[in-house]
């Protein structure tokens, strides 16, 4: 098997991975960026609305990083580690400056400064944007910047199989070149998992097809836990019926949600913030409206932009307009856009501290949606995912540089062959079940039973069904035996990762007997700070999910009722 040696391997070519890679490479270390897609295809590209930032001299005169942190803590329903939120706000302005010098084409104010707008849950407007394709613009900016380094090697269209360990230290990873199906051992003492989220676990998701939780899967199999895996964000405005994201920018710019009676129903649920209340609240309110018969036939509500005027819509909400036109045949300047909630973001992730370090495996780091720094808590605010990828991508990059200076790569190559054999087992088998059967069942169970509204009965049933799918997956087999770009092999391996994530998520959701942020239990409808103001730390040991706890870090803000 081919072997290449690096100082650090970064899994994932999205914003978090590229930001860290830029930093580590800038310090002179040799970096490999491994991604199953060409980096500009990463899901970061799909982020639309913008990036929140407090920029000194270019923010609302009454705003302050402290208010920004407070909004995050309250938005996350007090499951946020408050030191993490403070770092996110403090460094947000610097990130915007760096992006500007790397060429990000932010929208501008007439005087040439970067423009800003309101987003959900913000006390003052803080969101910087590039039309409504901010993620795409920033991803291209970072990728293009990274291609300027001689000491970053890109392994594009390489699929990760598993982490290589030497005792309790990282020793790199094994990946497979998709075009040739040849495995490669990328050896390094530091590994950053920045492989994004897991939306494809759900029947309805705004996520890319590639969001299959690969990073979580390989972490769990290496004995690394997920933090707070019961917290999944459902975005209020997935386009009906294709679940394509209609950005929160649509509501930030004045769009209004309406039921089948034409009522602005959010006035009832969030009398101050209306349609711009945090996403968990809006998604739940929408589901209640539809449950009580005030949705449109087929199961959707209306997002009304018509009063904003054609010119404004076309300039500021191009993507929303195009998406509605192309994918739902609706002219948003004349009629309401049909929308319904869909899975959007995973607040949980690989357990890391505020510096990006995981304490279960030496040399393992995580950033972006793959990580749980606990900056989003129980519900992420809009415009904070892009910010998190960059602030914590950079912060983790710094930590990695310190780590690399102190440690050396180990000599061994143990465990590499076993990893490849495990992956090949699906190809070698001649009978069994197809990945597609298992995957479609899994996506149904997760949507129906581990969705917006949860209770003990649904979750117990989910755990049972996922366990059964997981048992059957041992006999998963691949019909395609060819050796060039065999996507069926990778789909089977993705399915393995998705099943492992699902069992951990469902078990943790059953375990948390309270309602907090996006985790809404019909049978425990209130927040229980006495028993549950703590993080779930979930390990997957063979067939058993083991849950431990870590305290929430509180610096300034005591829990208070969450009213919007």
């Amino acid at each position: 098997m081919e072997k290449k040696e690096y100082d650090a391997v970064v899994l994932g070519g999205g914003l978090a991975g590229l930001m860290a890679a830029n930093n580590v490479a800038d310090a002179g270390f040799k970096v490999a960026v491994v991604s199953k897609v060409f980096p500009t295809r990463s899901h970061s590209a799909a982020a639309e609305g913008g990036i929140a930032a407090y920029v000194d001299g270019n923010s609302d005169p009454n705003d302050d990083p402290e208010f920004m942190s407070y909004d995050e803590v309250k938005g996350g329903d007090y499951l946020v580690d408050q030191n993490a939120a403070e770092l996110l706000s403090r460094d947000s302005g610097e990130i915007v400056h760096i992006l500007d010098t790397w060429g990000a084409p932010f929208n501008r104010q007439p005087d040439g400064r970067i423009a800003l707008r309101y987003f959900g849950g913000q006390t003052y407007p803080r969101t910087r944007f590039v039309a409504d394709k901010t993620g795409m613009a920033l991803l291209h900016t970072l990728f293009q910047h990274a291609t300027g380094f001689d000491n970053i090697d890109f392994y594009n269209e390489y699929y990760v199989l598993d982490i290589v360990k030497d005792g309790n230290n990282v020793n790199g990873l094994v990946a497979m070149e998709m075009k040739t199906m040849d495995p490669i051992f990328l050896k390094s003492r530091a590994l950053l998992i920045a492989s994004g989220g897991l939306g494809m676990i759900y029947q309805h998701t705004t996520n890319s097809y590639i969001n299959t939780g690969d990073g979580y899967g390989i972490a769990l199999r290496s004995g690394v836990p997920l933090k707070d895996p019961e917290f999944v964000q459902f975005h209020p405005t997935g386009l009906y019926p294709s679940d394509i994201l209609i950005s929160e920018a649509a509501r930030a710019e004045g769009g209004i949600l309406k039921n089948n009676k034409g009522e602005r129903f959010m006035a009832k649920y969030a009398p101050h913030k209306f349609d711009l209340a945090p996403r968990d609240i809006v998604s739940r309110s929408m589901t209640i409206e539809m449950r009580e018969g005030r949705g449109f036939e087929g199961g959707y509500l209306g997002l009304d932009l018509t009063h904003l005027g054609r010119e404004y819509i076309l300039e500021r909400l191009t993507l929303a307009y195009d998406a509605a036109k192309t994918f739902a045949n609706v002219d948003a300047t004349k009629e309401m856009i049909p929308v319904r909630p869909a899975q959007h973001y995973f607040m949980g992730g690989i357990d890391v501290d505020i510096t990006g370090v995981n304490s279960d495996l030496n040399g393992l780091f995580a950033a972006g949606e793959a990580a749980c720094v606990s900056v989003h808590g129980a519900n992420r605010l809009g415009s904070n995912s892009l910010l998190e990828t960059l602030v914590y991508g950079k912060e983790t990059g710094k930590t990695m540089v310190d780590f690399l200076k102190k440690h050396k790569n180990v000599e061994s190559s143990d465990g590499v062959d076993t990893i490849v054999d495990n992956a090949y087992s699906y190809i070698k088998r001649e009978t069994g079940e197809h990945f597609g059967t298992l995957l479609n069942e899994l996506r149904d169970v997760m949507w129906e039973n581990v969705g917006i509204f949860r209770d003990e009965k649904k979750l117990t049933e989910a755990v049972k069904q996922i366990n059964s799918i997981r048992k059957r997956s041992i006999n998963m087999y691949v019909t395609d035996k060819t050796t060039n770009y065999n996507t069926e092999v990778f789909n089977a391996l993705e399915t393995r990762n998705m099943i492992d994530c699902s069992i951990v998520m469902a078990t943790a959701a059953l375990n948390r007997t309270e309602t907090r942020g996006a985790h809404f239990r019909d049978d425990y409808p209130t927040r229980d700070d006495d028993n549950w103001m703590k993080h779930s730390i979930a390990y997957l040991n063979g067939d058993a999910v083991e849950i431990k706890y870590k305290p929430v870090i509180v610096t300034k803000w005591k829990p208070e009722p969450r009213v919007y």
Partner: protein
């Protein structure tokens, strides 16, 4: 509920062992079904060997480029019901130009290499990086940069471009849009070098507008190429092509200055020279097309107005 109907999807499959062959699938679709969803259905329910690229399914990642009924398109941005013919059939093939790897997956490396050649990254001023100076950008400048930065690297324009196939020195439409995007960015410090990289290649475009037609983001690479050509006088030194380009430009100005019109035969002679013109004349005579070259052109009557407009120009 939304009405469904059965459609037939014909896919040109390819792998190393079997080579190329067509395979048909029947799929239930409705008027909201995207072609990427059609492919996902086939893969998870009928034929797990079917291979294609897809990621964002909202036309921002550029993964799912392919030929749909012979046209270069993004599968996600193509709705099944608009793609099918009267027999409810649709044909899918790998993109032209790129080497086939597997089914609908081409090898895109040649596309990426073109993009890297234009040094696609901003080189900001040191005083801006350090924060000493605050670099601003007008809204109209941002608009111009963003117009060409909206490219999603999908490769459709290169696959559709005839010049790319004929002329290996031509960087191709996407790379030119990218290169011009940095030329237009006042924050960049490498404009001269960029003109050096782009100029000779820009004159290899035939302005056929195929890239303009197929671009799913409306980036209009051919417009970026035209805008780049306008900087021909700032190119340091010359090449065979640029010498010709300069003659072309000055003759156009001269011809309009004299007659108010671009006189094609004069433009042709001055740009390509008498030897090349003679050769082409022989060809034209043989094909019976010489009469077009001999057509009489009349001058514009109100030359004063023309001179007023041309006044500021050279």
């Amino acid at each position: 509920m939304v009405e469904e109907k059965e459609i037939t999807v014909n896919v040109k499959k390819y792998d190393k062992e079997k080579g190329e062959y067509w395979k048909s699938y029947k799929v239930q679709a409705d008027r909201y079904t995207q072609m990427t969803e059609v492919l996902r259905k086939i893969k998870t329910e009928q034929d797990p060997t079917l291979s294609y690229r897809a990621s964002c399914h909202m036309a921002v990642c550029g993964s799912c480029s392919m030929k749909i009924n012979g046209e270069p398109r993004l599968a996600c941005k193509t709705m099944a019901f608009t793609a099918i013919n009267e027999k409810n059939e649709v044909n899918l093939e790998s993109m032209d130009y790129y080497q086939e790897v597997r089914d609908l997956i081409p090898d895109m490396d040649t596309f990426y290499d073109r993009m890297y050649k234009v040094e696609p990254r901003l080189y900001a001023d040191q005083t801006v990086i350090s924060g000493e100076n605050d670099e601003r950008m007008t809204p109209s400048e941002q608009k111009e940069v963003w117009k060409f930065e909206e490219c999603i690297w999908c490769g459709l324009c290169v696959s559709a471009c005839p010049s790319v196939k004929e002329d290996e020195k031509f960087l191709g439409p996407a790379a030119h849009a990218k290169g011009y995007r940095f030329m237009a960015d006042g924050r960049d410090t490498k404009k001269e070098e960029r003109i050096g990289i782009l100029m000779d290649s820009a004159w290899r475009c035939t302005s056929c507008y195929m890239c303009y037609e197929v671009c799913p983001q409306d980036v209009q690479p051919v417009i970026a190429i035209k805008k780049t050509k306008a900087y021909v006088d700032e190119f340091p030194g010359t090449t065979e092509l640029i010498t010709m380009a300069r003659k072309h430009d000055s003759t156009i100005a001269e011809s309009i200055g004299e007659s108010g019109k671009i006189k094609e035969s004069k433009l042709y002679l001055k740009t390509f020279g008498y030897v090349a013109a003679m050769k082409d004349m022989m060809y034209m005579m043989k094909e019976g097309k010489i009469k077009y070259a001999m057509a009489k052109d009349t001058d514009v009557k109100n030359m004063d107005e023309i001179k007023k407009i041309m006044g500021d120009k050279k």
